[in-house]
C-alpha cells in the first residue's frame, strides 16, 4: 500500500466528549451538576458566562425545559467555579461567582443584584428592594422579579419578605422552605412573623438613637428596644436610620 494511501486511512471517529465539550464551551448547551444545600440536593446549571440556574433536583429537567428550553449536559463546572458554587450556596450570595442573568429583563436583573446584597440572617421587604433600585412604586414588579429568580439560594430571594413583614411566598418548593432557610441561617422567622402580626416594621435602639429593620444584626443584641409601626414614626421620635440596613421602604 502506498504511503499516501496509508496516510489517508488514518482518520477515525471523533473521540467521545469533544462534541459535548464544544456544546458547553460555546454555550449551545448548558452543563448541570449536583450540589448540597440546606434544602437537600439541588442542581446548578452553568455556561461560559456563569451560573444560570438553580433548582431542587426532583423534577428538575421538566421545569428547566419548560422555562429555558436549552440542551443540557451533565458535566463538572469549570474548575475555577466548582468550589465557589458550593460556597455561594452555603453563604447565600454569589460573591465572586459569575452569574448569568440573561434569562430575565434588565429591571429584574437590578432587583436580583440588590437582593444578592442582603446579608445572611436578615430579611428585607419588597418595598425596600423597590426603593433601593430607585423604583419605589414598583413593589409588585419587584415581587414578580423575585419570584422569577433563576438562581435561588445563590441569589438569596428567601431574604425578601412581604412589605407587611410576614415571611410570604417562595418559589423554590413553597413557603415552608423559606421559613426553613431563614431558620437555618439564624434569621428567627417565628419572631419576625410575631412582630409582623403586631404591625412592627422597625425597631429603634434607644442607646444608639438609631432605628433598624427588625432583622438587622445591629439591633439584635440591643437591650433598650422600641418596636415601631413605621420609619416615619421612628423619625418623628428623633431616631436616625441605620446605615447598614437602610430602613426606608
Amino acid at each position: 500500500m502506498s504511503i499516501e494511501h496509508q496516510l489517508e486511512g488514518l482518520i477515525r471517529g471523533l473521540p467521545s466528549g469533544i462534541s459535548e465539550g464544544v456544546a458547553l464551551g460555546t454555550g449551545l448547551a448548558e452543563g448541570y451538576d449536583f450540589y448540597d444545600s440546606a434544602l437537600g440536593q439541588v442542581i446548578v446549571t452553568f455556561n461560559p458566562e456563569g451560573v444560570s440556574s438553580l433548582d431542587i433536583a426532583d423534577g428538575f429537567e421538566d421545569r428547566y425545559t419548560e422555562r429555558f428550553g436549552r440542551p443540557l449536559i451533565r458535566a463538572e463546572a469549570p474548575q475555577a467555579w466548582s468550589r465557589h458554587i458550593q460556597e455561594s450556596i452555603e453563604r447565600g450570595t454569589p460573591g465572586d461567582l459569575p452569574v448569568d442573568l440573561r434569562s430575565v429583563t434588565e429591571f429584574q436583573r437590578r432587583v436580583l443584584r440588590t437582593t444578592a446584597g442582603i446579608p445572611k440572617g436578615e430579611v428585607r421587604p419588597y418595598g425596600w428592594v423597590a426603593y433601593e433600585i430607585e423604583s419605589p412604586k414598583a413593589v409588585r414588579a419587584v415581587g414578580s422579579a423575585v419570584a422569577r429568580n433563576p438562581i435561588p439560594l445563590i441569589i438569596p430571594c428567601h431574604r425578601v419578605v412581604r412589605s407587611d413583614g410576614h415571611i410570604g411566598n417562595y418559589s423554590l418548593g413553597g413557603p415552608h422552605n423559606k421559613v426553613e432557610l431563614l431558620q437555618h441561617e439564624g434569621a428567627r422567622p417565628e419572631l419576625l412573623e410575631e412582630l409582623a402580626s403586631h404591625n412592627v416594621r422597625v425597631r429603634a435602639d434607644e442607646s444608639t438613637g438609631t432605628y433598624h429593620h427588625p432583622s438587622c444584626h445591629l439591633v439584635r443584641s440591643a437591650t433598650d428596644v422600641l418596636d415601631l409601626r413605621s420609619s416615619e414614626v421612628a423619625e418623628t421620635q428623633g431616631f436616625r436610620p441605620c446605615r447598614a440596613c437602610r430602613p426606608h421602604g
Binding site: 471523533l14 464544544v22 463538572e76 469549570p78
Partner: protein, 173 residues
C-alpha cells in the same frame, strides 16, 4: 452535507447548524491534530478549543461573509494558530468533561505509537504539511493559507516529508 451547503446553512442559522459542523469536520480535525502534535489529550483539547473559537468568531461575522467562507482551511488556520500558543495557555483554560480514548471497537485500529514515531522523524513544518495534505486532504494552496508558508515551500515540505516517511517505513521492515 457538502461544505458549501454547510456554509450557507451556517449563514442562516449559526446555532442550529454549528453542531453539524462539529460532526462533519470533527474527526478530520481531531485526527489531523493528533498526527501533528503526537498527543491524544492535547489533540482533544485543541479540537474542542478550535470549534469554540470558530463559533465565537462566526457570531461576529455577517451572513454574507459566512456564506462565502471555505470552512475547512479557515478552521485549520484557527487550529494551527492555537497549536502554536497552546502550551502557554493550557493552564488557564477550564476543562469541562472527562474525555475518553476512542476507537476501542475499531476493526482496523490505527497503530498510534508507530505513526507517532514515524512522524516524529519529520521536522515540524514537514509533519504539518504531510498531514494536512495527505491525512486531512487540503490542497497545497489551502495549506499555504493555513500555515502562512509559501506554496513552493509547502510543496517541498510535503515532498521531503513523504520521502522521509518512506525511508522510515523501509527501515522498519
Amino acid at each position: 452535507m457538502v461544505m458549501e451547503d454547510l456554509a450557507i446553512a451556517l449563514a442562516t442559522d449559526l446555532d442550529g447548524t454549528f453542531p453539524t459542523v462539529v460532526e462533519t469536520m470533527g474527526s478530520q480535525l481531531f485526527w489531523g491534530l493528533r498526527r501533528i502534535c503526537g498527543d491524544h489529550q492535547e489533540a482533544e483539547d485543541l479540537t474542542q478549543e478550535t470549534f469554540i473559537r470558530a463559533y465565537r468568531a462566526l457570531g461576529g461575522y455577517d451572513s454574507a461573509r459566512i456564506r462565502e467562507m471555505s470552512l475547512r482551511p479557515w478552521l485549520w488556520t484557527i487550529a494551527m494558530n492555537l497549536g502554536r500558543n497552546h502550551v502557554r495557555d493550557r493552564a488557564r483554560r477550564p476543562t469541562y468533561v472527562e474525555l475518553t480514548e476512542a476507537g476501542a471497537d475499531d476493526p482496523e485500529p490505527v497503530d498510534n505509537a508507530a505513526w507517532d514515531k514515524r512522524l516524529a522523524a519529520l521536522s515540524g513544518p514537514q509533519r504539518a504539511a504531510v498531514v494536512l495534505r495527505h491525512v486531512v486532504g487540503l490542497s497545497i494552496a489551502e495549506i499555504s493559507e493555513t500555515t502562512g508558508r509559501p506554496e513552493g515551500t509547502v510543496k517541498a515540505d510535503v515532498h521531503r516529508g513523504l520521502a522521509r516517511l518512506r525511508e522510515t517505513i523501509e527501515v522498519e521492515k
